[in-house]
C-alpha cells in the first residue's frame, strides 16, 4: 500500500462531499443572521453565541449527511416515516401543551417536536415510494403518495401548528409535481381545495382564523393579533431604500417588534438595511435556490431528483412565507426566516436538507468517475 500524501487524504476525508459554492452562500446567510441577531437582542452576546453553537451543531449534521451515500438515505426513508408517524400519534395522545398547542413529546431525556422530523421524513418517504414504483407508475400511485402526505399533515394541523403543516404540504406537493402528476389531476385538486375551503375554515382554530382575518384588516385588533402585522409593515416600510443603519432601527430598539429574534427577524433586517439590503438577501436566497436546481437537474436517479427538487423548493417556500408574512401579504403562521432566524431546531432541519443535496451531488460524481 502506498500511503497517500496528507492533503488529498484530508480532502477526501473531510471536504470532498461538501459543495463549496452552496456552502459559501449558506455561510453568508447565517452570518447575516448573526449580525441581525446582535441588533435584535440589543447587543446580547450570549444569544449570538448560543446561535453560533446552533450553527455548529447543524453544520456537523450537514457534514454527516453529506458523507452518507444515497442508498443509506433511501433505506432510512420508511423507518423514519413510521417513527415520525408514531411520535405524532404519541403527541396527539400524550403530548405536552405549551402556549395552547400540543406539539412537544417528552421522551424522558428531552422534549422533542416530532413535526420537525416530518419536514424531511415526508418528502423522503414520498420520493422513496415513487422510486420503488418508478417502472409502473399509475394514477393510483399518486393517490397513495398523496395519502402518505395527508396523514401527517392532518395530525400536525390538529396540534395546531399551521406553519409546519403548510411547509410539509408544500414539500410533499413539490414531490408530486416533480414526479409528474398530470396537469389535469392538479387542476382537479385545486378545484377540490377551493371547494373545501369553507369546511377547512370551520375546522381552523379561532386564533388561526383570527390571523387570516387580520391579514385582510390588521387595524381591527391593533393591540392584539393585528399588532404583529402592523408593526412588521411599519418596520419594513420605514426602512426606506437605504435603511436606518445597523443598530439604529427604532421599531426594533423601541420594543415595538414582537418575536424579533425569531419569526420577525426579517423586519429588523429590513428596517436597518432597507430595500438595498432586501435585494441582497433575495439575491442570496435566489443563488442558493439556483444552485439547488442545478444539483437537481444533474441528479442521477428518480429518487434523488425528487428529493433534491423538493428540498430546494421547500427552502424557497420557507423564505417566501416568512418574508411574505412580515411584509403583510401572507398571514402570520409562525415560519422562521431560513438560516437567519434564531433557533436550533429549524437550523438543524435546514442544514440536514442541504447535507442531502450535497450528498446527492457528490456521490453521483463518484459513481460517474
Amino acid at each position: 500500500m502506498i500511503k497517500q500524501p496528507l492533503w488529498p487524504r484530508l480532502r477526501k476525508r473531510f471536504i470532498l462531499h461538501l459543495d463549496p459554492v452552496l456552502l459559501a452562500a449558506l455561510g453568508l446567510l447565517m452570518l447575516t443572521g448573526l449580525i441581525v441577531l446582535y441588533s435584535a437582542t440589543d447587543g446580547n452576546w450570549s444569544r449570538v453565541l448560543a446561535q453560533m453553537v446552533n450553527i455548529l451543531v447543524a453544520f456537523i449534521c450537514l457534514w454527516l449527511v453529506a458523507n452518507t451515500p444515497l442508498h443509506y438515505l433511501m433505506r432510512i426513508a420508511l423507518p423514519m416515516y413510521i417513527l415520525g408517524m408514531a411520535l405524532l400519534v404519541g403527541v396527539a395522545l400524550f403530548g405536552e401543551v405549551s402556549h395552547g398547542a400540543r406539539r412537544w413529546l417528552n421522551i424522558g431525556v428531552a422534549t422533542i417536536q416530532p413535526s420537525e422530523l416530518m419536514k424531511l421524513a415526508v418528502p423522503l418517504m414520498m420520493a422513496w415510494y415513487f422510486e420503488k414504483h418508478e417502472a409502473t407508475l399509475t394514477l393510483s400511485n399518486y393517490f397513495v403518495a398523496t395519502l402518505l402526505l395527508l396523514l401527517p399533515i392532518a395530525l400536525i394541523a390538529r396540534q395546531p401548528d399551521l406553519g409546519t403543516a403548510v411547509l410539509i404540504s408544500a414539500s410533499g406537493f413539490y414531490v408530486l409535481f416533480l414526479a409528474g402528476l398530470s396537469w389535469r389531476v392538479m387542476g382537479a385538486m385545486f378545484v377540490a381545495a377551493l371547494g373545501s375551503a369553507p369546511v377547512l375554515w370551520s375546522m381552523l382554530h379561532d386564533y388561526q382564523r383570527h390571523r387570516i382575518m387580520m391579514l385582510l384588516d390588521p387595524t381591527q385588533d391593533a393591540l392584539g393579533k393585528g399588532y404583529h402585522t402592523i408593526q412588521g409593515m411599519i418596520a419594513v416600510g420605514s426602512g426606506g431604500v437605504l435603511g436606518k443603519g445597523y443598530l439604529h432601527g427604532t421599531q426594533t430598539h423601541l420594543d415595538f417588534l414582537p418575536e424579533r429574534t425569531t419569526d420577525f427577524i426579517f423586519a429588523v433586517y429590513s428596517e436597518e438595511f432597507g430595500l438595498l439590503g432586501n435585494l441582497i438577501l433575495l439575491g442570496l436566497y435566489l443563488f442558493v435556490i439556483a444552485r439547488g436546481f442545478v444539483i437537481t437537474a444533474d441528479a442521477s436517479t428518480y429518487f434523488t431528483r425528487l428529493m433534491a427538487g423538493s428540498i430546494t423548493l421547500t427552502f424557497f417556500t420557507y423564505a417566501f412565507v416568512n418574508m411574505g408574512m412580515v411584509s403583510g401579504i401572507l398571514p402570520v403562521v409562525g415560519v422562521p426566516l431560513p438560516l437567519v432566524s434564531y433557533g436550533g431546531t429549524s437550523m438543524v432541519t435546514l442544514l440536514l436538507g442541504f447535507g442531502m443535496l450535497m450528498s446527492i451531488h457528490t456521490h453521483k460524481k463518484l459513481v460517474q468517475t
Partner: protein, 632 residues
C-alpha cells in the same frame, strides 16, 4: 429493441422532469418578484407614510391604561386609592443636552437633587426612548409655568395621570405592599403569562403585598385608542376607541381601625401581630413593625431613602408577620398538653413534682425550669397556668419527637398557612428525618427535651402561630387564613361574598380541648403568668405567654434583663383568643426584644381585644420600655 424503448422512456422522463424544474424556477422567480414589488411598495411608495408611523408609533395606536382597583378594609375604609395629578416627563433621546435641560427645567419647577438621582436610576434601568418622570405631583402653578415655556423644551412633556396613594402609610405597608415601575424581570414574567399585551402602556405593577398577590384583579383591562397624528406626532383626531375596564376593587377582611389600635399598642416595640377570626379564617389585623412608607416606592425610591431603609438595624423592609421566623417558646405548651392527652401520656389528674430542673436518665445535665426551686406539685392545668418547663421536658421525652411532629403539624406548624399573600415562609417543625437531612446528624434525646418548651430547632412565623391559635380556639376546625373578603367586579358592590369552608378538622377530644382552654383562661387570672394583662377584663379571655431566646444562656448562668444588651434580650410572645367560650378573635403577638411575654406582649393583645370586643379605644400608652419583669 426493448432496451431502446427504455432508454427513450428514460430520456423523455428526464425531459419532462427538467421541463417541470424550469417551470418551478419560473414560479420561484415570479414569487420573488412579487416580494420585491411588495418591498418597493412599502419602502419606496409608502415610505414616508410608514416613516411617520414609525416616528409617532406610540401615538398612532395608543393604549388607555385602566384605573387600578381600590383596596378597602372590611368596612369600606380606603387603604389604597388613586388620585389624578401632573407629572413632568423627559424622553432622553429626544433631548440634546440632558443635564442642561434639567437645569433649565429646575428654574421653572422645583427639582431636588433626589429627583435627579431617581431620574438617573430610571434612565439606567430603562431605555432612552421611553418617557420618564423627572418630577411627580406638580402643583397647578408649576404646570402653568411650564406650559407657558413648553415650546423651549423638545422631548419634555406634562402628563396627567393617576397616582397611587396609601393613606395608612407605615401601618399597612407590609400588608398592602406597593406598586412600582415595571422592570425587566416584570416584563419577562408578563410575557411568560401571556399578559404583556394588557400591560402595553402600563408603567406600574404590584411589587409586594396585596398589590402583588392580587395584581391580576387590580390591574384591569387596557383599552385602545387609535389616533391620527400629524407629522409632528400630535394627535389630530381619535379614529376609534375601545374603553378600558377598571380593575376590581378588593374588600379586605382587615379592620382598619383595629389595625390602627394594634399598631399603636406596640408603642416603641418592633414586632408583629396577626389577628384572625377563627370561625372563617378572616385576618382582622396584620402588623409588622417597623413599617415603611410605601408611597416612597411608587416612582422608584431615591437612593438616600433606600439606603436608610435597607441599612437600618430595625430591618423595616422585613415582613415579620409573614416571613419572620422565631422560636415558639412557651406558646407551644397548650399544643403540647393536647398532644400529651391525645397519646395518653398524661391524664388530667397526673401530677409531677417539680424540683426546678429536669434530667435525662444517666445524664447529669440539668434542664432548668424558669423558676428557681420549681413549682412544686404540678398537674396539666397548672403546667399551663404557671408555664412549668419541667412538666413539658418530661412530657416531650415520653412523647418522642416523631409523635410531637405528627401532632403539631396538624395545627400548621412547619408549613405555610396558605394565606393569600406571596412570600410566606414555612417556619420549621423539627423531626428526626429533618435533622438527618439538614445536618446529617442523628436526633438526640436532649433535642427532644428543649423542643418540649419550644426552644429547640423549631421556628414559627407570627402568621403561623396566630393560625394555630385560631384552630385551637375553634376546637380543631381550621379555615384557610385570607385577607381578601370580596372581589368587587367592575366596582359593583353586589358581588356575593364567597362562602368559606373549613380546610381541615383535627380529630380532638372535646374534653381535652375544654381543659386546655380553661387553663389558658386561668393564665389571665391571678396566679397565671399574664394575670396583669387579664385584670378587669369583662369578657373571658384565654391566653398563653412565651419567650423566644435570642442568645442562648450557658449552664448555670442567670438571665438578668437589665444586664443584657437590648438587641440580645428575649423576644416576647403572646397568644390569645376571646371570648373563651365562643371565640370571635384569635391572635398572636410578638414583641422583639420585649423580654417577658406576660409583661410586654400580653398588654398589646389586651388593647386589641378591648377594642374589637368592646369598641374601647385605648388611651395613649405609657412607654413600656423599662418594665420590671419576672421571667416566665
Amino acid at each position: 429493441m426493448k432496451g431502446r424503448v427504455e432508454l427513450k422512456n428514460s430520456q423523455r422522463e428526464i425531459y419532462y422532469f427538467r421541463l417541470r424544474l424550469m417551470l418551478s424556477l419560473g414560479f420561484v422567480l415570479v414569487m420573488l418578484f412579487i416580494l420585491l414589488a411588495r418591498f418597493v411598495y412599502l419602502q419606496v411608495v409608502k415610505h414616508s407614510h410608514y416613516q411617520t408611523l414609525a416616528e409617532n408609533n406610540r401615538i398612532s395606536v395608543a393604549p388607555i391604561v385602566p384605573n387600578r382597583g381600590l383596596i378597602l378594609d372590611r368596612n369600606g375604609v380606603v387603604l389604597a386609592h388613586n388620585y389624578s395629578g401632573y407629572t413632568l416627563e423627559i424622553t432622553p433621546n429626544k433631548v440634546g443636552d440632558l443635564e442642561a435641560t434639567i437645569d433649565q427645567l429646575a428654574q421653572l419647577v422645583d427639582i431636588q437633587p433626589k429627583d435627579r438621582k431617581r431620574f438617573k436610576k430610571l434612565q439606567a434601568e430603562g431605555h432612552d426612548f421611553e418617557s420618564l418622570p423627572i418630577r411627580n405631583r406638580l402643583s397647578d402653578e408649576e404646570v402653568a409655568r411650564f406650559a407657558a415655556q413648553s415650546y423651549r423644551f423638545r422631548g419634555v412633556e406634562i402628563k396627567a395621570r393617576l397616582f397611587r396613594e396609601y393613606p395608612y402609610n407605615e401601618q399597612t405597608s407590609h400588608l398592602i405592599g406597593y406598586i412600582g415601575r415595571i422592570n425587566e424581570s416584570d416584563i419577562e414574567q408578563l410575557e411568560e403569562d401571556k399578559s404583556a399585551a394588557n400591560y402595553r402602556g402600563s408603567d406600574y405593577i404590584g411589587k409586594t403585598g396585596i398589590e402583588q398577590s392580587y395584581e391580576s384583579e387590580l390591574h384591569g383591562t387596557t383599552g385602545i385608542e387609535q389616533v391620527e397624528v400629524d407629522a409632528g406626532g400630535r394627535g389630530v383626531r381619535v379614529l376609534s376607541r375601545t374603553p378600558p375596564a377598571s380593575g376590581n376593587n378588593l374588600l379586605l377582611t382587615l379592620d382598619a381601625k383595629l389595625q390602627e389600635v394594634a399598631d399603636k399598642a406596640f408603642g416603641n416595640y418592633r414586632g408583629a401581630l396577626v389577628a384572625i377570626d377563627p370561625n372563617n379564617g378572616e385576618v382582622l389585623a396584620f402588623i409588622s413593625r417597623p413599617g415603611y412608607d410605601p408611597n416612597l416606592f411608587i416612582d422608584g425610591i431615591d437612593e438616600d431613602s433606600w439606603n436608610e431603609l435597607n441599612n437600618s438595624p430595625d430591618v423595616p423592609l422585613n415582613n415579620r408577620a409573614l416571613r419572620g421566623q422565631y422560636p415558639l417558646g412557651s406558646t407551644i405548651k397548650p399544643f403540647m398538653a393536647l398532644a400529651g392527652l391525645y397519646y395518653n401520656k398524661r391524664s388530667p389528674s397526673h401530677t409531677i413534682s417539680d424540683p426546678g430542673y429536669f434530667t435525662l436518665p444517666g445524664n447529669s445535665h440539668q434542664y432548668r425550669d424558669w423558676k428557681k426551686g420549681g413549682h412544686g406539685s404540678v398537674d396539666l392545668f397548672k403546667s399551663i397556668v404557671v408555664s412549668c418547663d419541667t412538666y413539658y421536658y418530661g412530657l416531650a421525652t415520653e412523647l418522642g419527637i416523631d409523635n410531637m411532629f405528627n401532632f403539631l403539624s396538624q395545627f400548621g406548624f412547619g408549613k405555610k398557612t396558605g394565606i393569600d399573600l406571596e412570600g410566606e415562609t414555612s417556619g420549621l417543625l423539627p423531626s428526626q428525618e429533618w435533622k438527618q437531612k439538614r445536618y446529617q446528624q442523628k436526633w438526640y434525646a436532649g433535642d427532644t427535651v428543649s423542643a418540649g418548651i419550644g426552644q429547640g430547632y423549631d421556628l414559627v412565623t407570627p402568621m403561623q402561630l396566630a393560625f394555630a391559635t385560631a384552630v385551637l380556639a375553634n376546637d380543631g376546625v381550621g379555615y384557610r387564613p385570607h385577607l381578601v373578603r370580596q372581589v368587587q367586579h367592575g366596582g359593583s358592590k353586589d358581588t356575593p361574598i364567597p362562602e368559606v369552608n373549613p380546610a381541615f378538622t383535627i380529630n380532638l377530644n372535646p374534653e381535652h380541648v375544654a381543659l386546655v382552654k380553661r387553663a389558658m383562661v386561668a393564665v389571665m387570672q391571678p396566679g397565671g403568668t399574664a394575670a396583669q394583662a387579664g385584670a378587669g377584663a369583662p369578657y373571658a379571655f384565654a391566653g398563653k405567654t412565651g419567650t423566644a431566646q435570642v442568645v442562648g444562656m450557658k449552664q448555670g448562668e442567670k438571665y438578668i434583663e437589665s444586664q443584657v444588651a437590648e438587641r440580645h434580650r428575649d423576644h416576647a410572645w403572646f397568644i390569645a383568643f376571646a371570648p373563651a367560650d365562643k371565640p370571635k378573635i384569635a391572635l398572636a403577638v410578638l414583641a422583639e426584644n420585649g423580654g417577658h411575654g406576660g409583661a410586654v406582649a400580653a398588654p398589646i393583645a389586651r388593647k386589641v381585644l378591648d377594642y374589637y370586643l368592646l369598641g374601647k379605644v385605648p388611651k395613649p400608652l405609657p412607654t413600656v420600655n423599662d418594665v420590671e419583669v419576672e421571667h416566665d
